[in-house]
Amino acid sequence: MGAARDWTRATAAQMAAAMKAGEVTSVELTQAHLDRIAAVDGDVHAFLHVNAEGALATAREVDEARAAGEELPPLAGVPIAVKDVLVTQGMPTTAGSRILEGWEPPYDATVTRKIRENRMPILGKTNMDEFAMGSSTEHSGYGPTRNPWDLERIPGGSGGGSSASLAAWEAPLAIGSDTGGSIRQPASVTGTVGVKPTYGGVSRYGAIALASSLDQLGPCARTVEDAAYLHEVMGGHDPMDATSLDEPVPSCVDAARQGREGDLAGVRVGVIKELSGDGYQAGVEQRFEEGLEKLKALGAEVVEVSCPSFDYALAAYYLILPSEASSNLAKFDSVRFGLRVEKSTVEKTMGATRAEGFGDEVKRRIILGTYALSAGYYDAYYGSAQKVRTLIQRDFAAAFEQADVLVSPTTPTTPFKIGERIDDPLAMYLNDVATIPANLAGIPGMSLPSGIAPEDGLPVGFQILAPAHEDARLYRIGAALEKALHDDWGGALAAQAPELEVAP
Protein backbone atom coordinates (compact mmCIF):
# COMPACT_ATOMS: atom_id res chain seq x y z
CA MET A 1 0.00 0.00 0.00
CA GLY A 2 1.30 3.43 -0.95
CA ALA A 3 -0.16 6.78 0.07
CA ALA A 4 -3.92 6.73 0.67
CA ARG A 5 -5.84 7.11 -2.57
CA ASP A 6 -7.73 10.40 -3.10
CA TRP A 7 -11.16 8.97 -3.84
CA THR A 8 -12.59 12.33 -4.90
CA ARG A 9 -10.65 11.95 -8.16
CA ALA A 10 -12.32 8.65 -9.04
CA THR A 11 -15.34 8.24 -11.31
CA ALA A 12 -18.68 7.15 -9.88
CA ALA A 13 -18.31 3.81 -11.69
CA GLN A 14 -14.88 3.29 -10.08
CA MET A 15 -16.28 4.17 -6.65
CA ALA A 16 -19.13 1.69 -7.07
CA ALA A 17 -16.72 -1.06 -8.15
CA ALA A 18 -14.31 -0.32 -5.29
CA MET A 19 -17.06 -0.52 -2.69
CA LYS A 20 -18.19 -3.82 -4.15
CA ALA A 21 -14.62 -5.11 -4.00
CA GLY A 22 -14.28 -3.99 -0.39
CA GLU A 23 -11.49 -1.48 -1.15
CA VAL A 24 -13.38 1.49 0.27
CA THR A 25 -16.58 2.15 2.23
CA SER A 26 -19.35 4.61 1.46
CA VAL A 27 -18.56 6.41 4.72
CA GLU A 28 -14.96 6.91 3.56
CA LEU A 29 -16.10 8.16 0.14
CA THR A 30 -18.71 10.46 1.60
CA GLN A 31 -16.32 11.85 4.22
CA ALA A 32 -13.67 12.48 1.55
CA HIS A 33 -16.15 14.58 -0.44
CA LEU A 34 -17.38 16.43 2.66
CA ASP A 35 -13.74 17.21 3.50
CA ARG A 36 -13.16 18.46 -0.03
CA ILE A 37 -16.27 20.67 0.20
CA ALA A 38 -14.98 22.10 3.49
CA ALA A 39 -11.58 22.73 1.88
CA VAL A 40 -12.59 24.47 -1.35
CA ASP A 41 -16.23 25.54 -1.25
CA GLY A 42 -15.44 28.80 0.53
CA ASP A 43 -13.97 29.90 -2.82
CA VAL A 44 -16.14 27.95 -5.26
CA HIS A 45 -19.54 28.35 -3.54
CA ALA A 46 -21.14 25.44 -5.34
CA PHE A 47 -23.32 24.52 -2.35
CA LEU A 48 -26.15 26.42 -0.70
CA HIS A 49 -26.56 23.70 1.92
CA VAL A 50 -24.25 20.86 2.98
CA ASN A 51 -26.03 17.77 4.30
CA ALA A 52 -23.08 16.25 6.19
CA GLU A 53 -24.97 14.28 8.85
CA GLY A 54 -27.66 13.03 6.49
CA ALA A 55 -25.11 11.94 3.89
CA LEU A 56 -23.01 10.07 6.45
CA ALA A 57 -26.11 8.38 7.91
CA THR A 58 -27.06 7.06 4.46
CA ALA A 59 -23.46 5.96 3.88
CA ARG A 60 -23.35 4.05 7.18
CA GLU A 61 -26.60 2.25 6.32
CA VAL A 62 -25.22 1.26 2.92
CA ASP A 63 -22.00 -0.04 4.44
CA GLU A 64 -23.93 -2.09 7.00
CA ALA A 65 -26.24 -3.48 4.31
CA ARG A 66 -23.27 -4.41 2.15
CA ALA A 67 -21.53 -6.08 5.09
CA ALA A 68 -24.72 -8.05 5.71
CA GLY A 69 -24.59 -9.32 2.14
CA GLU A 70 -27.64 -7.37 0.94
CA GLU A 71 -28.21 -6.93 -2.80
CA LEU A 72 -27.66 -3.23 -3.55
CA PRO A 73 -28.44 -0.94 -6.52
CA PRO A 74 -25.44 -0.11 -8.83
CA LEU A 75 -24.81 3.39 -7.40
CA ALA A 76 -25.54 2.56 -3.75
CA GLY A 77 -23.11 4.45 -1.53
CA VAL A 78 -21.90 6.83 -4.27
CA PRO A 79 -22.43 10.41 -3.03
CA ILE A 80 -24.34 12.94 -5.12
CA ALA A 81 -25.04 16.69 -5.17
CA VAL A 82 -28.59 17.85 -5.86
CA LYS A 83 -29.53 21.09 -7.57
CA ASP A 84 -31.61 23.24 -5.25
CA VAL A 85 -34.49 23.14 -7.75
CA LEU A 86 -35.52 19.70 -6.41
CA VAL A 87 -37.55 19.53 -3.23
CA THR A 88 -35.89 17.49 -0.50
CA GLN A 89 -37.47 16.64 2.82
CA GLY A 90 -35.24 17.47 5.77
CA MET A 91 -33.11 19.88 3.74
CA PRO A 92 -33.88 23.48 2.83
CA THR A 93 -34.97 24.12 -0.77
CA THR A 94 -34.78 27.61 -2.25
CA ALA A 95 -34.35 27.32 -6.04
CA GLY A 96 -31.75 30.05 -5.54
CA SER A 97 -34.40 32.55 -4.45
CA ARG A 98 -34.62 34.68 -1.32
CA ILE A 99 -38.39 34.25 -1.46
CA LEU A 100 -37.90 30.62 -0.34
CA GLU A 101 -35.07 31.24 2.13
CA GLY A 102 -35.19 28.62 4.90
CA TRP A 103 -38.15 26.70 3.42
CA GLU A 104 -38.18 22.98 4.21
CA PRO A 105 -40.45 21.12 1.81
CA PRO A 106 -42.96 18.69 3.32
CA TYR A 107 -42.34 16.09 0.59
CA ASP A 108 -39.65 14.66 -1.70
CA ALA A 109 -39.47 15.12 -5.46
CA THR A 110 -39.72 11.86 -7.41
CA VAL A 111 -36.04 12.14 -8.38
CA THR A 112 -35.13 12.78 -4.74
CA ARG A 113 -37.05 9.63 -3.80
CA LYS A 114 -35.23 7.66 -6.48
CA ILE A 115 -31.85 8.88 -5.20
CA ARG A 116 -32.83 7.73 -1.71
CA GLU A 117 -34.15 4.39 -2.99
CA ASN A 118 -30.84 3.88 -4.80
CA ARG A 119 -29.21 4.63 -1.46
CA MET A 120 -26.97 7.45 -2.62
CA PRO A 121 -25.76 9.83 0.11
CA ILE A 122 -26.93 13.39 -0.70
CA LEU A 123 -23.97 15.73 -0.07
CA GLY A 124 -26.06 18.88 -0.28
CA LYS A 125 -28.00 21.31 -2.44
CA THR A 126 -26.22 23.18 -5.22
CA ASN A 127 -26.42 26.84 -6.15
CA MET A 128 -28.32 28.04 -9.20
CA ASP A 129 -29.67 31.14 -10.87
CA GLU A 130 -32.89 32.16 -9.15
CA PHE A 131 -35.66 29.78 -10.32
CA ALA A 132 -33.18 28.60 -12.99
CA MET A 133 -33.34 31.93 -14.83
CA GLY A 134 -29.84 32.61 -16.04
CA SER A 135 -26.67 31.29 -17.63
CA SER A 136 -24.07 32.15 -15.02
CA THR A 137 -25.46 31.65 -11.46
CA GLU A 138 -24.95 35.39 -11.00
CA HIS A 139 -28.73 35.65 -10.63
CA SER A 140 -28.71 33.42 -7.53
CA GLY A 141 -30.17 35.21 -4.52
CA TYR A 142 -27.24 33.84 -2.51
CA GLY A 143 -24.26 35.04 -4.54
CA PRO A 144 -22.55 33.50 -7.58
CA THR A 145 -20.75 30.18 -7.89
CA ARG A 146 -17.22 30.40 -9.28
CA ASN A 147 -15.71 28.31 -12.05
CA PRO A 148 -13.02 25.96 -10.64
CA TRP A 149 -10.99 26.51 -13.85
CA ASP A 150 -10.74 30.22 -13.06
CA LEU A 151 -12.45 31.60 -9.97
CA GLU A 152 -13.06 34.94 -11.69
CA ARG A 153 -15.24 33.27 -14.29
CA ILE A 154 -18.81 31.95 -14.38
CA PRO A 155 -19.49 28.19 -14.04
CA GLY A 156 -22.47 28.46 -16.39
CA GLY A 157 -26.08 28.47 -15.39
CA SER A 158 -28.53 27.92 -14.21
CA GLY A 159 -26.87 24.73 -12.90
CA GLY A 160 -23.52 26.33 -12.12
CA GLY A 161 -23.46 24.88 -8.61
CA SER A 162 -23.82 21.34 -9.92
CA SER A 163 -21.23 21.77 -12.69
CA ALA A 164 -18.74 23.48 -10.37
CA SER A 165 -19.16 20.80 -7.69
CA LEU A 166 -18.05 18.21 -10.27
CA ALA A 167 -15.16 20.27 -11.66
CA ALA A 168 -13.94 21.04 -8.11
CA TRP A 169 -13.99 17.31 -7.17
CA GLU A 170 -16.61 18.03 -4.49
CA ALA A 171 -19.01 15.43 -5.92
CA PRO A 172 -18.76 12.69 -8.57
CA LEU A 173 -22.39 13.09 -9.70
CA ALA A 174 -24.98 15.85 -9.60
CA ILE A 175 -28.56 16.51 -10.61
CA GLY A 176 -29.34 19.27 -13.08
CA SER A 177 -32.38 20.79 -14.76
CA ASP A 178 -32.35 22.05 -18.34
CA THR A 179 -34.96 24.50 -19.64
CA GLY A 180 -32.83 26.13 -22.35
CA GLY A 181 -29.39 24.66 -21.66
CA SER A 182 -28.99 24.80 -17.86
CA ILE A 183 -27.39 21.34 -17.77
CA ARG A 184 -25.42 21.43 -21.04
CA GLN A 185 -24.03 24.98 -20.94
CA PRO A 186 -22.63 24.64 -17.37
CA ALA A 187 -21.12 21.28 -18.38
CA SER A 188 -19.51 22.94 -21.40
CA VAL A 189 -17.85 25.77 -19.48
CA THR A 190 -16.57 23.55 -16.65
CA GLY A 191 -15.19 20.66 -18.73
CA THR A 192 -17.81 18.20 -17.45
CA VAL A 193 -20.62 16.08 -18.95
CA GLY A 194 -24.32 16.95 -18.84
CA VAL A 195 -27.38 15.39 -20.41
CA LYS A 196 -30.86 16.76 -21.03
CA PRO A 197 -33.11 13.71 -21.59
CA THR A 198 -36.10 13.62 -23.92
CA TYR A 199 -38.91 15.79 -22.53
CA GLY A 200 -40.87 13.59 -20.13
CA GLY A 201 -38.07 11.04 -19.74
CA VAL A 202 -37.47 12.05 -16.12
CA SER A 203 -40.30 12.97 -13.76
CA ARG A 204 -40.61 16.68 -12.97
CA TYR A 205 -42.72 16.02 -9.85
CA GLY A 206 -41.18 18.09 -7.07
CA ALA A 207 -38.92 20.08 -9.38
CA ILE A 208 -39.78 23.73 -8.85
CA ALA A 209 -41.18 24.66 -12.26
CA LEU A 210 -39.72 27.37 -14.46
CA ALA A 211 -41.30 26.74 -17.90
CA SER A 212 -43.35 23.56 -17.81
CA SER A 213 -43.24 22.77 -21.53
CA LEU A 214 -39.42 23.12 -21.63
CA ASP A 215 -38.10 21.92 -18.24
CA GLN A 216 -36.34 18.57 -17.99
CA LEU A 217 -34.19 17.09 -15.23
CA GLY A 218 -31.01 15.23 -16.13
CA PRO A 219 -27.67 13.83 -15.00
CA CYS A 220 -24.39 15.75 -14.54
CA ALA A 221 -21.07 13.88 -14.23
CA ARG A 222 -17.41 13.91 -15.24
CA THR A 223 -17.68 11.00 -17.67
CA VAL A 224 -20.29 9.79 -20.16
CA GLU A 225 -20.50 6.42 -18.39
CA ASP A 226 -21.22 8.03 -15.02
CA ALA A 227 -23.95 10.17 -16.60
CA ALA A 228 -25.43 6.99 -18.11
CA TYR A 229 -25.65 5.30 -14.70
CA LEU A 230 -27.32 8.33 -13.16
CA HIS A 231 -29.70 8.74 -16.11
CA GLU A 232 -30.98 5.22 -15.51
CA VAL A 233 -31.49 5.99 -11.80
CA MET A 234 -33.47 9.17 -12.57
CA GLY A 235 -35.54 8.09 -15.55
CA GLY A 236 -38.82 6.27 -15.92
CA HIS A 237 -42.56 6.75 -15.84
CA ASP A 238 -44.15 8.55 -12.89
CA PRO A 239 -47.91 8.83 -12.47
CA MET A 240 -47.30 11.98 -10.39
CA ASP A 241 -46.17 13.88 -13.53
CA ALA A 242 -48.82 14.03 -16.26
CA THR A 243 -46.12 14.71 -18.90
CA SER A 244 -43.99 11.72 -17.87
CA LEU A 245 -43.38 9.32 -20.76
CA ASP A 246 -44.89 5.88 -20.24
CA GLU A 247 -42.04 3.96 -21.82
CA PRO A 248 -38.97 2.03 -20.62
CA VAL A 249 -35.86 3.88 -19.40
CA PRO A 250 -33.32 4.06 -22.25
CA SER A 251 -30.37 1.64 -21.99
CA CYS A 252 -27.82 4.38 -21.45
CA VAL A 253 -25.12 2.28 -19.75
CA ASP A 254 -25.17 -0.39 -22.48
CA ALA A 255 -25.04 2.31 -25.16
CA ALA A 256 -22.02 3.91 -23.49
CA ARG A 257 -20.31 0.51 -23.28
CA GLN A 258 -20.99 -0.05 -26.98
CA GLY A 259 -19.64 3.42 -27.78
CA ARG A 260 -16.37 2.78 -25.99
CA GLU A 261 -15.70 -0.11 -28.35
CA GLY A 262 -14.97 2.66 -30.82
CA ASP A 263 -16.81 1.54 -33.95
CA LEU A 264 -19.09 4.20 -35.46
CA ALA A 265 -19.25 2.68 -38.94
CA GLY A 266 -22.63 3.43 -40.51
CA VAL A 267 -23.42 6.28 -38.09
CA ARG A 268 -24.38 9.53 -39.81
CA VAL A 269 -23.42 12.70 -37.92
CA GLY A 270 -25.05 15.97 -39.03
CA VAL A 271 -23.28 19.28 -38.42
CA ILE A 272 -25.82 22.08 -37.93
CA LYS A 273 -24.73 24.87 -40.27
CA GLU A 274 -26.54 27.63 -38.36
CA LEU A 275 -24.68 26.86 -35.09
CA SER A 276 -21.25 28.10 -36.17
CA GLY A 277 -19.56 31.15 -37.66
CA ASP A 278 -20.43 34.64 -36.37
CA GLY A 279 -20.15 34.86 -32.59
CA TYR A 280 -18.33 31.53 -32.19
CA GLN A 281 -14.88 31.83 -30.62
CA ALA A 282 -11.95 30.52 -32.71
CA GLY A 283 -10.79 27.99 -30.10
CA VAL A 284 -14.35 26.71 -29.69
CA GLU A 285 -14.63 26.06 -33.43
CA GLN A 286 -11.16 24.50 -33.54
CA ARG A 287 -11.93 21.97 -30.79
CA PHE A 288 -15.30 21.25 -32.38
CA GLU A 289 -13.66 20.51 -35.76
CA GLU A 290 -11.15 18.23 -34.02
CA GLY A 291 -14.06 16.36 -32.43
CA LEU A 292 -15.57 15.86 -35.87
CA GLU A 293 -12.25 14.46 -37.13
CA LYS A 294 -12.28 11.96 -34.25
CA LEU A 295 -15.80 10.83 -35.15
CA LYS A 296 -14.73 10.38 -38.79
CA ALA A 297 -11.71 8.38 -37.68
CA LEU A 298 -14.08 6.07 -35.76
CA GLY A 299 -15.98 5.42 -38.97
CA ALA A 300 -18.84 7.93 -38.77
CA GLU A 301 -20.02 9.73 -41.87
CA VAL A 302 -20.18 13.51 -41.32
CA VAL A 303 -22.70 15.56 -43.31
CA GLU A 304 -23.84 19.18 -43.12
CA VAL A 305 -27.49 19.90 -42.29
CA SER A 306 -29.37 23.18 -42.32
CA CYS A 307 -31.94 24.31 -39.74
CA PRO A 308 -32.91 27.78 -40.98
CA SER A 309 -35.59 28.41 -38.32
CA PHE A 310 -32.96 28.22 -35.55
CA ASP A 311 -32.33 31.91 -36.20
CA TYR A 312 -35.70 32.49 -34.53
CA ALA A 313 -35.27 30.02 -31.65
CA LEU A 314 -33.86 32.48 -29.13
CA ALA A 315 -36.70 34.94 -29.75
CA ALA A 316 -39.36 32.22 -29.46
CA TYR A 317 -37.75 30.89 -26.28
CA TYR A 318 -37.71 34.31 -24.62
CA LEU A 319 -41.46 34.58 -25.21
CA ILE A 320 -42.49 31.04 -24.26
CA LEU A 321 -40.30 30.80 -21.17
CA PRO A 322 -41.34 34.11 -19.57
CA SER A 323 -44.99 33.40 -20.35
CA GLU A 324 -44.92 30.03 -18.63
CA ALA A 325 -42.71 31.35 -15.81
CA SER A 326 -45.04 34.27 -15.06
CA SER A 327 -47.79 31.73 -14.53
CA ASN A 328 -45.70 29.20 -12.58
CA LEU A 329 -44.28 31.85 -10.24
CA ALA A 330 -47.72 33.19 -9.32
CA LYS A 331 -47.71 30.64 -6.50
CA PHE A 332 -45.15 32.69 -4.58
CA ASP A 333 -47.90 34.79 -3.07
CA SER A 334 -46.86 35.07 0.62
CA VAL A 335 -49.64 32.70 1.69
CA ARG A 336 -48.57 29.04 1.60
CA PHE A 337 -44.78 29.09 1.82
CA GLY A 338 -41.79 31.36 1.79
CA LEU A 339 -41.36 35.04 2.52
CA ARG A 340 -44.09 37.40 3.67
CA VAL A 341 -43.62 41.16 3.88
CA GLU A 342 -46.73 42.09 5.86
CA LYS A 343 -48.80 45.06 4.65
CA SER A 344 -52.38 46.15 5.37
CA THR A 345 -54.06 43.91 2.76
CA VAL A 346 -53.31 40.62 1.01
CA GLU A 347 -52.79 42.37 -2.31
CA LYS A 348 -50.32 44.88 -0.88
CA THR A 349 -48.58 42.07 1.00
CA MET A 350 -48.12 40.12 -2.24
CA GLY A 351 -46.71 43.14 -4.08
CA ALA A 352 -44.25 43.93 -1.30
CA THR A 353 -43.28 40.28 -0.79
CA ARG A 354 -42.57 39.65 -4.46
CA ALA A 355 -40.69 42.97 -4.77
CA GLU A 356 -38.39 41.98 -1.92
CA GLY A 357 -38.15 38.24 -2.58
CA PHE A 358 -37.49 38.21 -6.34
CA GLY A 359 -34.31 39.40 -8.03
CA ASP A 360 -34.13 41.56 -11.16
CA GLU A 361 -33.97 38.75 -13.73
CA VAL A 362 -37.06 37.08 -12.27
CA LYS A 363 -38.91 40.40 -12.29
CA ARG A 364 -37.88 41.07 -15.90
CA ARG A 365 -39.12 37.70 -17.07
CA ILE A 366 -42.40 37.78 -15.11
CA ILE A 367 -43.21 41.20 -16.55
CA LEU A 368 -42.23 40.11 -20.05
CA GLY A 369 -44.41 37.00 -19.73
CA THR A 370 -47.32 38.99 -18.36
CA TYR A 371 -47.01 41.27 -21.39
CA ALA A 372 -46.73 38.41 -23.92
CA LEU A 373 -49.86 36.76 -22.52
CA SER A 374 -51.95 39.93 -22.22
CA ALA A 375 -55.06 40.52 -24.31
CA GLY A 376 -54.22 42.16 -27.63
CA TYR A 377 -50.63 40.88 -27.65
CA TYR A 378 -51.15 37.16 -27.17
CA ASP A 379 -51.35 36.25 -30.88
CA ALA A 380 -48.47 38.51 -31.88
CA TYR A 381 -46.10 37.20 -29.22
CA TYR A 382 -46.96 33.93 -27.51
CA GLY A 383 -48.95 32.66 -30.50
CA SER A 384 -46.17 33.48 -32.97
CA ALA A 385 -43.55 31.90 -30.71
CA GLN A 386 -45.56 28.66 -30.66
CA LYS A 387 -45.56 28.68 -34.45
CA VAL A 388 -41.79 29.09 -34.49
CA ARG A 389 -41.69 26.06 -32.25
CA THR A 390 -43.42 24.07 -35.01
CA LEU A 391 -40.89 25.34 -37.57
CA ILE A 392 -38.00 24.28 -35.35
CA GLN A 393 -39.50 20.82 -34.91
CA ARG A 394 -39.82 20.56 -38.71
CA ASP A 395 -36.16 21.58 -39.12
CA PHE A 396 -35.11 18.85 -36.69
CA ALA A 397 -37.33 16.28 -38.41
CA ALA A 398 -35.76 17.09 -41.78
CA ALA A 399 -32.24 17.04 -40.34
CA PHE A 400 -32.80 13.66 -38.67
CA GLU A 401 -33.77 12.29 -42.09
CA GLN A 402 -30.17 12.92 -43.10
CA ALA A 403 -28.36 12.08 -39.89
CA ASP A 404 -28.68 9.83 -36.80
CA VAL A 405 -27.36 12.52 -34.47
CA LEU A 406 -26.75 16.24 -34.86
CA VAL A 407 -23.75 18.07 -33.43
CA SER A 408 -22.57 21.61 -32.66
CA PRO A 409 -20.43 23.45 -30.14
CA THR A 410 -22.46 23.57 -26.88
CA THR A 411 -21.75 27.25 -26.31
CA PRO A 412 -20.38 29.92 -28.65
CA THR A 413 -17.64 30.95 -26.18
CA THR A 414 -15.66 29.70 -23.21
CA PRO A 415 -16.78 31.05 -19.78
CA PHE A 416 -16.77 34.82 -19.40
CA LYS A 417 -15.83 36.84 -16.32
CA ILE A 418 -18.29 37.29 -13.47
CA GLY A 419 -19.99 40.66 -13.88
CA GLU A 420 -19.21 41.00 -17.59
CA ARG A 421 -22.76 40.48 -18.89
CA ILE A 422 -24.88 40.99 -15.77
CA ASP A 423 -26.42 44.29 -16.93
CA ASP A 424 -26.97 43.20 -20.52
CA PRO A 425 -29.72 40.55 -20.56
CA LEU A 426 -29.55 40.10 -24.34
CA ALA A 427 -25.82 39.34 -24.27
CA MET A 428 -26.47 36.86 -21.43
CA TYR A 429 -29.24 35.15 -23.42
CA LEU A 430 -26.84 34.45 -26.32
CA ASN A 431 -25.02 31.86 -24.17
CA ASP A 432 -27.83 29.43 -24.84
CA VAL A 433 -28.26 29.97 -28.58
CA ALA A 434 -27.07 26.43 -29.41
CA THR A 435 -28.85 24.61 -26.60
CA ILE A 436 -32.33 26.20 -26.75
CA PRO A 437 -33.59 24.50 -29.96
CA ALA A 438 -33.52 21.07 -28.27
CA ASN A 439 -35.82 22.29 -25.48
CA LEU A 440 -38.26 23.83 -27.93
CA ALA A 441 -38.47 20.47 -29.75
CA GLY A 442 -38.31 18.23 -26.64
CA ILE A 443 -35.36 16.22 -27.98
CA PRO A 444 -32.44 14.90 -25.87
CA GLY A 445 -28.99 16.50 -25.87
CA MET A 446 -25.58 15.96 -24.30
CA SER A 447 -22.55 18.16 -23.76
CA LEU A 448 -19.13 16.60 -23.24
CA PRO A 449 -15.69 18.20 -23.10
CA SER A 450 -13.85 18.47 -26.43
CA GLY A 451 -10.71 20.18 -25.16
CA ILE A 452 -9.32 23.51 -24.05
CA ALA A 453 -9.46 26.67 -26.18
CA PRO A 454 -5.83 27.52 -27.03
CA GLU A 455 -6.39 31.29 -26.69
CA ASP A 456 -7.58 31.25 -23.05
CA GLY A 457 -6.95 27.77 -21.63
CA LEU A 458 -10.64 27.26 -20.79
CA PRO A 459 -12.84 24.23 -21.53
CA VAL A 460 -14.94 23.80 -24.67
CA GLY A 461 -18.09 21.66 -24.94
CA PHE A 462 -19.26 19.43 -27.80
CA GLN A 463 -23.03 19.04 -28.14
CA ILE A 464 -24.77 15.92 -29.47
CA LEU A 465 -28.52 15.90 -30.19
CA ALA A 466 -30.72 12.89 -30.96
CA PRO A 467 -34.37 12.42 -31.97
CA ALA A 468 -36.97 12.23 -29.19
CA HIS A 469 -36.88 8.88 -27.32
CA GLU A 470 -33.41 8.09 -28.73
CA ASP A 471 -31.41 9.20 -25.66
CA ALA A 472 -29.27 6.05 -25.89
CA ARG A 473 -27.69 7.36 -29.12
CA LEU A 474 -26.18 10.26 -27.18
CA TYR A 475 -24.38 7.82 -24.93
CA ARG A 476 -23.09 5.66 -27.75
CA ILE A 477 -21.69 8.56 -29.81
CA GLY A 478 -20.64 10.49 -26.69
CA ALA A 479 -18.74 7.56 -25.18
CA ALA A 480 -16.98 6.85 -28.48
CA LEU A 481 -15.84 10.46 -28.83
CA GLU A 482 -14.90 10.67 -25.15
CA LYS A 483 -12.74 7.57 -25.33
CA ALA A 484 -10.88 8.85 -28.40
CA LEU A 485 -10.26 12.20 -26.66
CA HIS A 486 -9.27 10.62 -23.34
CA ASP A 487 -6.74 8.45 -25.17
CA ASP A 488 -5.14 11.68 -26.43
CA TRP A 489 -5.33 13.51 -23.11
CA GLY A 490 -4.38 10.58 -20.90
CA GLY A 491 -7.60 10.89 -18.84
CA ALA A 492 -10.61 13.16 -18.27
CA LEU A 493 -10.35 16.86 -19.12
CA ALA A 494 -11.26 17.83 -15.55
CA ALA A 495 -7.82 16.54 -14.46
CA GLN A 496 -6.24 19.36 -16.48
CA ALA A 497 -7.92 22.09 -14.42
CA PRO A 498 -5.57 24.09 -12.20
CA GLU A 499 -5.48 22.93 -8.56
CA LEU A 500 -7.69 24.94 -6.24
CA GLU A 501 -6.28 26.44 -3.07
CA VAL A 502 -7.27 24.32 -0.12
CA ALA A 503 -8.46 25.99 3.07
CA PRO A 504 -6.50 24.88 6.17
Partner: protein, 99 residues
Amino acid sequence: MSSLERADVARLAALARIDMTDEDLDRLGGQLNAIVDSVAKVQEVAGEDVPATSHPIPMSNVHRPDEVRPSLSQDAALSGAPEAEDGRFRVPQILGEEA
Protein backbone atom coordinates in the same frame (compact mmCIF):
# COMPACT_ATOMS: atom_id res chain seq x y z
CA MET B 1 -44.46 46.91 -32.83
CA SER B 2 -45.10 49.49 -30.17
CA SER B 3 -42.44 49.69 -27.51
CA LEU B 4 -43.13 49.35 -23.82
CA GLU B 5 -43.69 52.75 -22.22
CA ARG B 6 -42.81 53.35 -18.60
CA ALA B 7 -46.52 53.39 -17.76
CA ASP B 8 -46.94 49.99 -19.45
CA VAL B 9 -44.20 48.47 -17.33
CA ALA B 10 -45.78 49.93 -14.18
CA ARG B 11 -49.18 48.48 -15.16
CA LEU B 12 -47.72 45.04 -15.98
CA ALA B 13 -45.79 44.97 -12.70
CA ALA B 14 -49.01 45.77 -10.85
CA LEU B 15 -50.81 42.95 -12.68
CA ALA B 16 -47.98 40.59 -11.75
CA ARG B 17 -48.13 41.81 -8.12
CA ILE B 18 -44.57 43.12 -7.97
CA ASP B 19 -44.17 46.55 -6.35
CA MET B 20 -41.77 48.74 -8.34
CA THR B 21 -39.96 51.87 -7.27
CA ASP B 22 -39.20 54.68 -9.76
CA GLU B 23 -35.64 53.44 -9.84
CA ASP B 24 -36.80 49.87 -10.66
CA LEU B 25 -38.94 51.19 -13.51
CA ASP B 26 -36.01 53.16 -14.93
CA ARG B 27 -33.64 50.23 -14.80
CA LEU B 28 -35.90 47.36 -15.84
CA GLY B 29 -37.99 49.40 -18.29
CA GLY B 30 -35.10 50.07 -20.66
CA GLN B 31 -33.92 46.46 -20.56
CA LEU B 32 -37.45 45.16 -21.17
CA ASN B 33 -37.79 47.40 -24.21
CA ALA B 34 -34.61 45.98 -25.72
CA ILE B 35 -35.83 42.43 -25.08
CA VAL B 36 -39.29 43.08 -26.56
CA ASP B 37 -37.73 44.62 -29.68
CA SER B 38 -35.49 41.59 -30.05
CA VAL B 39 -38.13 38.87 -29.58
CA ALA B 40 -40.66 40.54 -31.89
CA LYS B 41 -38.85 38.93 -34.84
CA VAL B 42 -40.88 35.72 -34.27
CA GLN B 43 -43.64 37.47 -36.24
CA GLU B 44 -41.51 37.43 -39.41
CA VAL B 45 -41.97 33.69 -39.91
CA ALA B 46 -45.21 32.96 -38.05
CA GLY B 47 -47.45 32.63 -41.11
CA GLU B 48 -51.17 31.81 -41.12
CA ASP B 49 -50.43 28.33 -42.44
CA VAL B 50 -48.11 27.34 -39.58
CA PRO B 51 -49.85 25.48 -36.73
CA ALA B 52 -48.87 26.33 -33.15
CA THR B 53 -47.03 23.82 -30.95
CA SER B 54 -47.76 24.07 -27.23
CA HIS B 55 -46.15 20.86 -26.11
CA PRO B 56 -42.93 19.27 -27.37
CA ILE B 57 -44.01 15.62 -27.29
CA PRO B 58 -47.51 14.69 -28.50
CA MET B 59 -49.56 13.34 -25.61
CA SER B 60 -53.15 12.59 -24.79
CA ASN B 61 -54.90 13.24 -21.51
CA VAL B 62 -53.70 11.30 -18.50
CA HIS B 63 -56.30 9.88 -16.15
CA ARG B 64 -56.25 7.98 -12.89
CA PRO B 65 -59.02 6.23 -11.00
CA ASP B 66 -61.05 8.62 -8.85
CA GLU B 67 -59.89 7.08 -5.60
CA VAL B 68 -58.56 8.61 -2.41
CA ARG B 69 -54.82 8.15 -2.07
CA PRO B 70 -52.31 9.31 0.51
CA SER B 71 -51.48 13.00 0.47
CA LEU B 72 -49.93 15.63 2.73
CA SER B 73 -51.37 15.89 6.22
CA GLN B 74 -52.86 19.23 7.22
CA ASP B 75 -49.87 19.92 9.47
CA ALA B 76 -47.41 19.15 6.68
CA ALA B 77 -49.29 21.36 4.23
CA LEU B 78 -49.23 24.24 6.71
CA SER B 79 -45.63 23.65 7.81
CA GLY B 80 -44.14 26.22 5.43
CA ALA B 81 -46.82 28.88 5.79
CA PRO B 82 -45.72 32.31 7.03
CA GLU B 83 -48.76 32.25 9.33
CA ALA B 84 -51.41 29.64 10.16
CA GLU B 85 -54.33 29.51 12.57
CA ASP B 86 -56.90 26.81 13.39
CA GLY B 87 -55.49 24.51 10.72
CA ARG B 88 -55.72 27.13 7.97
CA PHE B 89 -53.46 29.57 6.17
CA ARG B 90 -53.79 32.98 7.80
CA VAL B 91 -53.60 36.04 5.56
CA PRO B 92 -53.88 39.79 6.10
CA GLN B 93 -57.29 41.31 5.40
CA ILE B 94 -58.58 40.71 1.90
CA LEU B 95 -60.30 44.05 1.24
CA GLY B 96 -58.75 47.48 1.73
CA GLU B 97 -60.24 50.10 4.08
CA GLU B 98 -61.66 52.00 1.13
CA ALA B 99 -63.66 49.02 -0.09
